[in-house]
Symmetry: D3
Subunit: 294 residues, 6 copies
């Protein structure tokens, strides 16, 4: 009590040097065109996580079984998108250099670009698995090339064809769907059908997993800027996470929680539970095989 | 920019004369006995529609493929129910006379009576398909014969036996269910089972489609005056719309969105998406066969 | 109109002496560790019940078919947990002595302990069926032995091994799950699988049914203190209630509605509907066989 | 506890026959053109009144000093304005015939017309004091003669020139202000300046007091359909009530609370306190002089 | 009805060419560091303005007395601050070139910089009067020179010493207050004391008036990103506007309404009323003297 | 960044040993009879304080001028009131023993009893100044002697007659006001009139200052469990704090913020500002005279 007040996500109690898994917040939403607010996600998740148990009855494992570190939130420049992405890239690179797995909490989806840049530098053969309602494949959006609506297209600029695997997609403009259909990225609409095939194909590859929580149905997760009806259930997302956790996930993120739009707190509780399950799934796997190191 | 500010539902950009499909708002909720607020639906849907894409990945078609007109909101007399219904009937008749399909955005469900009166005048053999949680079959309600709870009974007064097909019903009083069981209307409780049979039976008939959005489960669509647990999912509703869109739909409406009861905005987003899919489904069909003209 | 204003749950219009089924509120939430508010549940349910129909299209029966009494809310001591439990026990005993079935509306789940104490005194062979997201099996919680998180453990102190049957459980700490696995209680995780087996096993036994409404998925029921993703649907809960209503239910409760966390009112509407269906299910069964009387 | 649950406004515990002051709700808002919701006011005020003390430190008197009766809510026809006004008139007449003072809780301001009709029949020389932000003097509104925006004009139709005294007015259209300036009614804009003069002038006259709570500044009372900045404070309204309570108030009402627009509950708490102070002020005065009886 | 739906702020019905006063929205909030949402202000104000009267009982004048044009909202680049400011500058210049008075609805306060650049180009001797809770005088903020917290400092870069007059200031960091005290700008803390002196001093000068609505007390105006207790009342702000309207106001703005933070709608209603009074005050003055044309 | 995430109230950055002023949270609301939620106050205040400046333009001083320590929140037993008070007393005693000034953030007002017990042990001549809407002088409440409604009476048990000075009181039951009038405590109703006299009288005495934030008008501070119209303004409270800060304040608290009831965040912002001003006022004074040490 007589030390300064420490606030970390529930169960993330280890010191940095002892941890192999590091979460941090990237509170940025300046390019959000419709309803901003994801900047509050990481802060609110930390605060509300004390309503969560550390134990997963799904995986029969506990956050306390692992050494987990919470680095707090990056201080990002609002209104200067490129600089914010650099700050994210720098921090992610630092974590990766120390042979730990970074797990970023957005923020709008654009923050993924900063983390992927860092991961791609360390792992040139990086693949990306994306769970999302939206394609995010626009070439530009409202005259901008750096936007939540273009983020996966910018990642494709970096990684090239056939490195990106999208699941759950149910919104975008027609050119995005047509571009995807030209084999630039793999896209599975509406759900996780065929995810096992992707997992099989990516065995042994370094994988970045990005989870836009709006892949969930808005009934499950109303607290997001652009809710899209027709999404997956929590159990479907959980199973998808367990499925891909067999892969060598070298970095990951969850994003697009916007707590202000769900005053029941349910969306935040769901996000916390997704983070718990994701953390356990990746760390369980690592126990058995270690961090992928290219 | 130097013209007056125009606000239409996303993608409804055509002029009246060029359009074959016309939406308009009927912001009326004076007989709502429990929780009013549907009067704001059309206004809020227009305003929020810019968070929606014009493209449907479900139907692989785009609102921009069609000439669509948004006539704005009718100015209706609050507190004078009969006069408001006349105003709705007049406007609907005008649109029908010009050989366009009217699509009304309620308002409480009673507004449907005004539009059906207009449609029944032009199409004496009119049939009605109703997606709804509630029977709306009372003879009167709180001493009134014109009420959101009696609207389908009033339509039966007009059309007679075996012209009305109800799906998704899960609320009403016992006499309503008993009356329906006397073959006055066809009622399928809880879901859309057997909708194909109705579609088969109504081939070649003029059909009015009325969608009370509370047919959706309240988890999907909380923003309504009388939420009824145990409803259908968005995908089930979407499929039902696609199923009936093969018919000759001469007029339609969606109603009972009450935005104030869902501050997440999810209900409005769902309503916008239903309108997009309904619009595309009807216009796709018309491309192939033209407006039904008796 | 010129009598004092009476406010009862919809359809609970009978006098006490004529009724065989008695609801009452237990507005207590003092041990709630995360988000309080269940104290308002019974009051809000009464007030909002007039948005509900008395007729169940699921069971084709009506609340008005039975003589039902609403005893209002107990006045409980906030901040004195043991005293509040005594008050609940006293009232429940009174109702049981008069050969009526008490149905308590919580409050936090701890209130169940008071009612079970009364029921166990009358029915020494009492069994408990619990629908819940949480195990509630802790030995103590935040230094307290009387808590919403320990309530079922305290009931086990009273009833002993193999008398408690838990369904829908998806949250707790590891020791709780391990303790349950030692055959102290029967626990079925996540859903109602195998409920028929429990019903078969408990034929002829006096049963207390406790429904923590957070067994429902938060999409269906966000208005609760500790929402847990991955729950059951309304229809699944309804079917589970119908399944166990064949048993001799001597007392029951529904708890953990916290209206303030769901401003759409949907959670309250769901709770009202659960109460309607539960009431009809139990009273239908009693019509056929009478109240269990040991 | 074993009687049916009674719910009255705090401190209104007497039987009808013993009371000289009778409150009742008129939950009607069908003509509300902007944001409906006042229909919930009386119900919510009853429910929330238990957060209030019965004692007034302002008047050093207590609700429990008087015999006060709460008649509950009238069941009014939604969507049939004229019928609803008749129902209000009938009930008010009944209370007046029994030599009691009726105090109506609206509803939209139009409900005042029903009560004034009853009062004017018993007291042909009736005068009206109105505390309000709005003139409500339109000849008609949205084609209707019966509307919340025309209610005082309709009362003028009944009572004639120089019988109506308006205070706090700060909104209306220009013709209303011009019409008032022609000496049809007395209007004091913005505040209660000069209220003592009106009180002096109306000594010995039967007075109907109608308080549209939107006379309060929206900072104090946000929960109303048409909030108008620049209103009076709670203490100013309290003093105005105390000032006019010296008159022979034969009937009164408070109206236009719309609880749904103020989720903090502050507006409801203010309305409850205004009702407490108004009740005590009128009953204190009556103790000294008895009900005015023409 | 059969024209496209036009939505303008209440009473702004004239065509561009006929108007001498032009409002437009600048929906930008990308640099907002705390709570974003001002991007919705202009849209919501238009939508809610129909709850307002066009007539001002304060000024005894009506919006309909003037030819007023609403240019709708600019489409601004989110996340590219410099580009957004250019877009604002271009539009403002166009309006100024046509000898009309532009009145911008923000948006965060940074948008003022774009409009002031345009005004300062046309009127080299431009002075700025600022009503605001915050100094906005930082040299940079979170590493950025273009920010809502630096906007007035950037305007000082443009205009130089003794051209800026701040009223109502009650928040900032110490260096800002110290810098202001060095006579770079005139600052009056907390209220409008001495505003008459400023008006006297600026007779005959071209003045840009910028109203950050958070100058109002948060009780009056809670719907803003950074509420600061201790502000002015609506009537005080109204009087301040009337006081400065004697000056030659060549352009103006109101900003920092963030509707999502005030679900009662009161803040939006206040902003609409401020815009009505500001519009009438400036146009009344112009009737007497014409637009200042340097 | 690579240390654990620390979250303290803005500007409370010092280590414990270096500080003379220590804030800590007492998140307890188990006896709250009406609307709970104050348990979240300290957590939310910390989180939201980053929207505040550290500089006070009122006192022309800065939080950063002092060494201030934030001890985080106590972990209190919910549902065991006496144990919670002991925990508060222990911590407060520890801080007092180290010659620092404790400043507790409630929680419901009952928490004050724990802190006063500690202060009265160290300072036998302790006096209490209370700013509050409520008397809190009941002998017992709902059968309990330890309650938010009895807290000042319990403190009187401890300190005896003429040690307690109440300001701003406007709610209680009649016996409380009568008991106070018997000279047990000094009570000033409604406002701070005469506070200078109290300050003069208490020169040189050890003083505990307890601020129930509901002394503020609900328009300024809606986020509290029992809002009472007719309260003081922020500036009035600020001046009262400045007035009493001349005294030897040996401990203090602010309590009864309930953030969930004010979704605008304004109440939390006000509470943060009160804490800033209170902290600066006490520390400024101590600079000149040192901590009172009996």
């Amino acid at each position: 009590m007589l030390n300064k007040n420490i606030e970390t996500f529930l169960g993330f109690d280890a010191d940095y040097k002892d941890s192999s898994f590091v979460i941090f917040g990237a509170p940025f939403d300046s390019t959000t065109s419709f309803r901003p607010g994801t900047r509050f996600a990481s802060k609110v998740m930390r605060s509300e996580s004390f309503g969560l148990e550390t134990y997963s009855p799904y995986q029969e494992a506990d956050l306390t079984d692992y050494a987990l570190f919470d680095g707090g939130d990056l201080e990002l420049s609002f209104g200067n998108t490129e600089r914010a992405l650099e700050q994210i890239e720098e921090f992610t690179s630092l974590v990766l250099k120390d042979e730990k797995i970074p797990c970023m909490i957005g923020g709008e989806h654009l923050v993924t670009l900063g983390a992927v840049r860092a991961a791609a530098e360390k792992y040139p053969d990086l693949h990306v698995i994306q769970f999302d309602a939206h394609t995010d494949l626009r070439e530009d959006y409202l005259d901008q090339r750096l936007s939540h609506a273009t983020v996966i297209r910018r990642i494709w600029d970096l990684l090239g064809d056939k490195k990106i695997f999208q699941y759950g997609i149910r919104s975008g403009d027609r050119p995005e769907f047509e571009w995807a259909a030209q084999q630039h990225v793999f896209m599975n609409k509406f759900n996780f059908d065929g995810l096992e095939n992707t997992v099989e194909k990516l065995q042994g590859k370094p994988v970045y997993l990005t989870i836009d929580l709006d892949v969930l149905d808005p009934s499950v997760f109303p607290g997001t800027g652009t809710p899209e009806a027709g999404g997956v259930s929590f159990v479907e997302l959980l199973n998808a996470i367990l499925t891909v956790s067999d892969l060598n996930i070298v970095a990951c993120d969850i994003n697009e929680l916007s707590p202000v739009y769900d005053q029941s707190g349910v969306s935040t509780a769901v996000a916390c539970k997704v983070l718990r399950e994701l953390t356990i799934a990746i760390n369980k796997n690592n126990e058995m095989g270690g961090v992928f190191n290219g």
